[in-house]
């Protein structure tokens, strides 16, 4: 045990630090809304997210959430409304890393924009919501945290106020988001109606009381699935994603597709494992809820990859690829019906972490291209490697890693996900279909990812470009992400351990 004992609420520190940072930035904004003191604003955001990261890592290392005499065990906050365990810390780490990368990159990206303080304040506020989702342990806190994430996101997508695409995308995102939220909150009310509880453990304990209302509870669960699908951009709740990612400033696209998606998944992992233990739930609702995730996983990865294959717009391609990756991670939930379900879920979480680096990096490269004024299509990217070899090399790393080519991190996490799925298929042969879909879609994805690498490295530029500048912040963020995508390979063991512990924390 530690020498001094922190109060319980301190366990939420990673999220609270983000909240504090957001308020500080909001304070700047109130004092001087037109401030263009970029170093101060971006610096505050970066410092806040790094502090959050540091605390989360420290907690993990110190043993918060881990059981055993030397460790602190799982910390319940506010009578179980929040919970800080391995799973929560793992996702807080992912979220703060992505937030830090996005904030660093935004320093250059927002060079000539007004409302800088507002921007950073919204980003950190959204990150606060995501961190809170990771720790939420009741449907109420989950819903509040979810809205705390969503509302700043809508505003962020539309923040380029003079850009039609940005504003239109923001509105569409908001409309679909409102619809999804409605479905989600309706689902919450149905679950409450059936079980009489909102706290997740209490729901699990009261499942038996649902009795006659099995169908009602099933519908509620399915609506919760809908809310998750919206947050993770899974079919059929994915329609906002291509539009929002394309219209939003590229760093925000990175933020939404990496951090926001991760938040959606932690929500799903926690709600479905804690509140709806498979056997007890099946007994009440008459059907195994993993079936929904099997269907969603297959449809999502297939639709995402197929739609990405013929895109001409790079950002749209990445948007669909991000949908495809959501499909891969959904396997982690689909496999929960098996003995080795926790291993598959661990592999899925690992994929999310690696994805956090490679996908953020890819979007940040697009941000760099936008910063240079390069057009949106593949053809516009032709021959960029001549002017920007380092950034283009980093982009090639992201693309190959996303496609799952060795030796990059994306290969290892996808490989692990694949092998664990195949192993788990011993209990449920449906998983073989998922594994096959994973392989087929990865193969297809190599096609469109390598198209971009080909454009960068092999094609000749269509028109002559001037010498390109090298914005420090964007470069730093991209290179950091690329390095992490590569070196995550030797560091894989501790990450695997962390992810497996996180998975084990919620699965039986």
């Amino acid at each position: 045990m530690a020498v001094f004992q922190l109060p319980e609420w301190a366990a939420l520190a990673p999220a609270l630090i983000l909240a504090g940072t957001a308020l500080v930035l909001f304070l700047f904004d109130s004092i001087n809304p037109r401030s263009t003191n970029r170093p101060l604003l971006a610096g505050t955001a970066v410092a806040g997210s790094l502090a959050s990261l540091a605390v989360a890592v420290w907690f993990t290392a110190a043993g918060v959430g881990a059981t055993g005499i030397e460790n602190y065990g799982v910390v319940d906050v506010m009578n179980g409304q929040f919970i800080v365990d391995r799973l929560a810390l793992y996702f807080m780490i992912i979220i703060s890393i992505v937030t830090a990368l996005v904030a660093v990159a935004s320093y250059d990206y927002l060079r000539d924009h007004t409302y800088q303080a507002e921007y950073y304040s919204l980003v950190v506020l959204a990150a606060t919501g995501m961190s809170m989702i990771a720790a939420s342990n009741s449907l109420v806190t989950i819903f509040i945290a979810l809205e705390l994430t969503s509302l700043p996101s809508y505003a962020l997508v539309a923040i380029l106020k003079d850009n039609r695409g940005s504003v239109e995308a923001g509105l569409k995102y908001f409309l679909i988001g409102a619809l999804s939220s409605a479905i989600f909150v309706y689902g919450i009310s149905l679950v409450y109606g059936a079980t009489g509880s909102l706290q997740l453990e209490a729901i699990a304990a009261n499942l038996g009381a649902a009795g006659e209302m099995g169908g009602l509870l099933g519908l509620g669960i399915l609506m919760l699935v809908g809310g998750v699908a919206f947050k993770t951009a899974s079919v059929p709740f994915h329609f906002w994603a291509p539009e929002a990612y394309e219209g939003a400033p590229a760093p925000i696209s990175a933020f939404l597709s990496s951090a926001s998606k991760a938040a959606g998944f932690v929500l799903a992992f926690r709600v479905f494992t804690t509140a709806f233990p498979l056997e007890a739930t099946t007994a009440v609702i008459g059907v195994d809820w993993t079936v929904a995730f099997v269907i969603l996983a297959i449809v999502t990865m297939t639709l995402g990859n197929f739609a990405a294959a013929t895109q001409e717009n790079v950002k749209r391609m990445l948007a669909y690829s991000s949908i495809g990756h959501a499909g891969y991670v959904l396997i982690g939930l689909a496999a929960l019906s098996t003995e080795a379900g926790d291993l598959v879920m661990g592999a899925a979480m690992m994929h999310l972490l690696v994805y956090g680096f490679m996908n953020t990096g890819a979007f940040l490269f697009v941000a760099l291209a936008e910063y240079w004024g390069v057009g949106p299509t593949f053809a516009d990217y032709n021959g960029l490697s001549k002017q920007a070899p380092f950034a283009s090399a980093a982009m090639a790393v992201f693309m190959f890693s996303l496609a799952g080519v060795p030796p990059f991190g994306g290969f290892w996490s996808k490989y692990l996900l694949y092998t664990e799925t195949v192993n788990a298929a011993a209990d449920n042969t449906v998983l073989l279909v998922l594994a096959a879909a994973l392989v087929v879609n990865s193969a297809l994805s190599l096609y469109y990812y390598s198209r971009l690498v080909k454009a960068l490295w092999i094609e000749e530029p269509i028109l002559d470009r001037d010498r390109l500048t090298q914005p420090t912040g964007l470069y730093a963020a991209i290179i950091a992400a690329a390095v992490m995508t590569v070196v995550i390979l030797p560091a894989f063991d501790p990450i695997a351990t962390a992810a497996l512990e996180a998975a084990a924390a919620v699965v039986g």
Partner: protein
């Protein structure tokens, strides 16, 4: 370090390493060296010979050596016989057999190197550094193969030997025929090696070891398995030993040019004659028979495998000898004689005559090297004319070549007291005594015996046509002189071909009752040996019964010896009457229809070409068509379908948010219907 620990044996790896160094040196600096790289090779092979002799003396002094040099991988592997793990290593095994073979190989290699000075350098060949480098690599591979202590290492160097002969046969790669012959040699032997490789894997998987000697050898493991009555891979242990032994034999038949894999060898005459000498006497072709001798303990466990070896050997001996009768090219005659003689060795080993087989291998190495180098000398004399009908009368113009060649010919024909007589007689005697109890061996023996007549005939036909009579061309009247680099190896080999037979005069020993069968004592571990690898151990394992004629072993032996000597002399005499005349003619009509059958080599090439062109090629074409249409069609079709469906899927994203809301709700309801139906919510 190793040398001090284990006496002279510590130097054993150097035997192979020296030629490897010569290879590297010649390859890198050959152009700048005097004699274009011959010297490093000569020095290295002389060094190898010296160390081999030291090894030989050490084995003679009652020692043997078996050690592991390097283990490249080891791991746990469950094998069929229950061995826990398996290790793949490089190791050295110096026992009487390998010590003897090392001396033979390094001696022949040294003489070939020296001879090359006269044959290649003096004739102004280009590409000599390449030639000497390849010779060095060839020697290295063979020597390492000889002292290999396990089957996998043997296989690796076996393959290297094959590669080197490919390179050397195709040395004159700008001609049309040499590259083709090289490819043929490589492919035909490779075909056999596929079976060998499968055999290696099978043995490793069965016994969990690939070692030749000691407690942890696959031979011992196989013996234990047979004694225990174990079942291996669903077969009776002995059957399985037969199967794996025959798989390994595939490689042996290919390398030793035994029927039906013999077709590459006559073509391989396209290489320089020195290379032919090395290939036929001590390396490539010898490797096959040596492998059988090396793992003889394994074959000894399976009478079926032995019978097959014996029968194939006897058949090949006769088969090749008949073809040698009608050849015009001096090197072709020798090529068929090689096939035939290796047939005898296989016959000897196949009837359990381990000493006889090895004895013939030893004698053949010397007299065949001699004959090839002699033929090389003749070719130099004749300004690179190889057709015997254009020669004649060289006897007086090149006496050294003539007399040494004659010694080789007498040894090959098996005329007493030249070396070939003693070993061939012993092979035939061993075959006869087993054959009296085993009809199939008797058939093999009969074929071997008949082949003796043909051997005598073609050998002396060659001698008479080449050296006797009147010169039949201008070059034959005025031959090119040959120098000492050619004469010295001929003289050394001439002496060896004459006297090596004396090391194991079994009939004399029997008659006079004296102990002079030194080779038998040598191989039987009277001096130094490795446990289990002795003639006695093998002899006890072999399950053949022996019979005698007239109730006495001596009578049988005399009868056998008399018969084979008589037939050899009859063959030689026939050749004498037909060809030892001033103006010999071809005598084709006497053979009638058989002539063209023999000239075309029993249509062996034709049927193998048919196999390639008539069978393999159509199958390959069909496979290619399948690949081009079905496989590629599937692949291309997949991408077309993918891209098409991609452009279709893309259209769902209309950009109109009300459509999205409708699709979203529609999708949700579809999911709800599926789950609700499954869960019975609507009931």
């Amino acid at each position: 370090m190793a040398a001090t620990a284990t006496g002279p044996f510590g130097f054993a790896p150097a035997i192979a390493v020296l030629p490897l160094v010569a290879f590297a040196v010649t390859l890198l600096f050959g152009k700048h060296l005097p004699k274009k790289g011959a010297l490093p090779g000569i020095i290295a092979t002389a060094g190898s010979l010296l160390i081999s002799l030291v090894m030989f003396a050490a084995v003679g002094g009652g020692n043997a050596y078996h050690t592991t040099l390097y283990e490249w991988t080891a791991g746990a592997a469950a094998s069929e016989t229950g061995a826990e793990g398996i290790a793949f290593t490089f190791g050295v095994l110096i026992d009487p057999l390998s010590a003897l073979m090392l001396v033979i190989v390094s001696l022949v290699a040294l003489l070939v190197h020296v001879f090359s000075l006269g044959y290649m350098n003096a004739e102004g060949e280009t590409g000599l550094p390449r030639y000497y480098a390849e010779l060095g690599l060839f020697t290295f591979s063979m020597l390492a193969f000889v002292f290999a202590d396990n089957l996998l290492m043997a296989f690796m160097f076996f393959e290297l030997v094959g590669l080197c002969s490919y390179l050397l046969i195709g040395f004159w790669f700008r001609t049309e025929s040499a590259p083709s012959a090289a490819k043929k040699a490589f492919l035909v032997t490779r075909f056999g090696d596929y079976f060998f490789l499968i055999g290696v894997v099978a043995i490793a998987a069965t016994f969990g070891t690939v070692g030749f000697a000691g407690e942890a050898s696959f031979v011992t493991a196989a013996e234990t398995a047979i004694d225990d009555g174990a079942t291996l891979f669903g077969f009776d242990a002995q059957t399985w030993v037969t199967i794996t032994g025959l798989l390994v034999l595939g490689g042996v038949l290919g390398k030793s040019a035994q029927f039906p894999f013999h077709t590459w060898l006559p073509d391989a005459m396209e290489g320089p004659t020195t290379v032919s000498a090395l290939i036929h006497a001590a390396t490539m072709v010898a490797a096959g028979v040596y492998l059988v001798a090396r793992m003889f303990g394994y074959y000894a466990l399976s009478p079926t495998a032995l019978s097959i070896i014996a029968f194939v050997g006897g058949f090949t001996a006769l088969f090749a000898a008949t073809m040698g009768v009608v050849k015009d090219d001096v090197k072709q005659v020798l090529a068929y004689s090689t096939i035939s003689q290796y047939g005898y060795m296989m016959l000897g080993l196949g009837v359990g005559g381990y000493v006889a087989g090895v004895f013939h291998l030893l004698n053949h190495a010397f007299f065949k090297a001699l004959l090839f180098l002699g033929a090389g000398a003749v070719i130099v004399l004749m300004h690179h004319e190889q057709n015997m009908w254009k020669m004649g009368g060289l006897k007086d113009k090149a006496p050294v070549t003539y007399y040494t060649f004659l010694a080789g010919a007498l040894a090959l024909a098996g005329i007493v007291p030249f070396s070939g007589f003693w070993s061939k007689d012993e092979v035939l005697f061993d075959a006869l005594i087993i054959g009296l109890e085993q009809p199939i061996i008797l058939a093999a023996y009969a074929m071997g015996l008949v082949a003796v007549f043909f051997t005598g005939f073609y050998t002396f036909r060659m001698v008479f046509l080449t050296f006797h009579g009147e010169p039949r061309s201008e070059t034959a009247e005025d031959p090119h002189p040959v120098g000492w680099p050619i004469k010295v190896p001929l003289i050394v080999l001439g002496i060896l071909a004459t006297v090596t037979g004396l090391v194991n005069m079994a009939p004399v020993a029997k008659l006079l009752d004296v102990e002079i069968t030194f080779l038998e004592f040598w191989l039987d571990g009277e001096y130094g040996s490795v446990e289990g690898l002795t003639y006695h151990a093998y002899h006890e394992t072999v399950a053949f019964e022996e019979g005698v004629i007239g109730g006495s072993e001596t009578t049988t032996m005399l009868l056998s010896a008399g018969l084979s000597l008589g037939l050899a002399l009859a063959g030689a005499f026939t050749a004498h009457t037909l060809y030892n005349v001033p103006e010999p003619t071809r005598h084709m009509q006497k053979l009638g229809g058989a002539y063209s059958l023999l000239r075309r080599n029993y249509y062996q090439d034709e049927y193998q070409v048919w196999l390639a062109e008539g069978l393999t090629l159509p199958v390959a074409r069909a496979a290619d068509r399948f690949d081009q249409t079905v496989i590629d069609g599937l692949v291309n079709g997949t991408s077309t379908v993918s891209l098409f469906s991609s452009s279709w899927v893309k259209r769902i994203q209309t950009g109109i948010v009300t459509n999205y809301a409708a699709l979203l709700v529609g999708g949700f309801i579809a999911l709800l219907l599926v789950l609700g139906y499954l869960g019975g919510w609507f009931a």
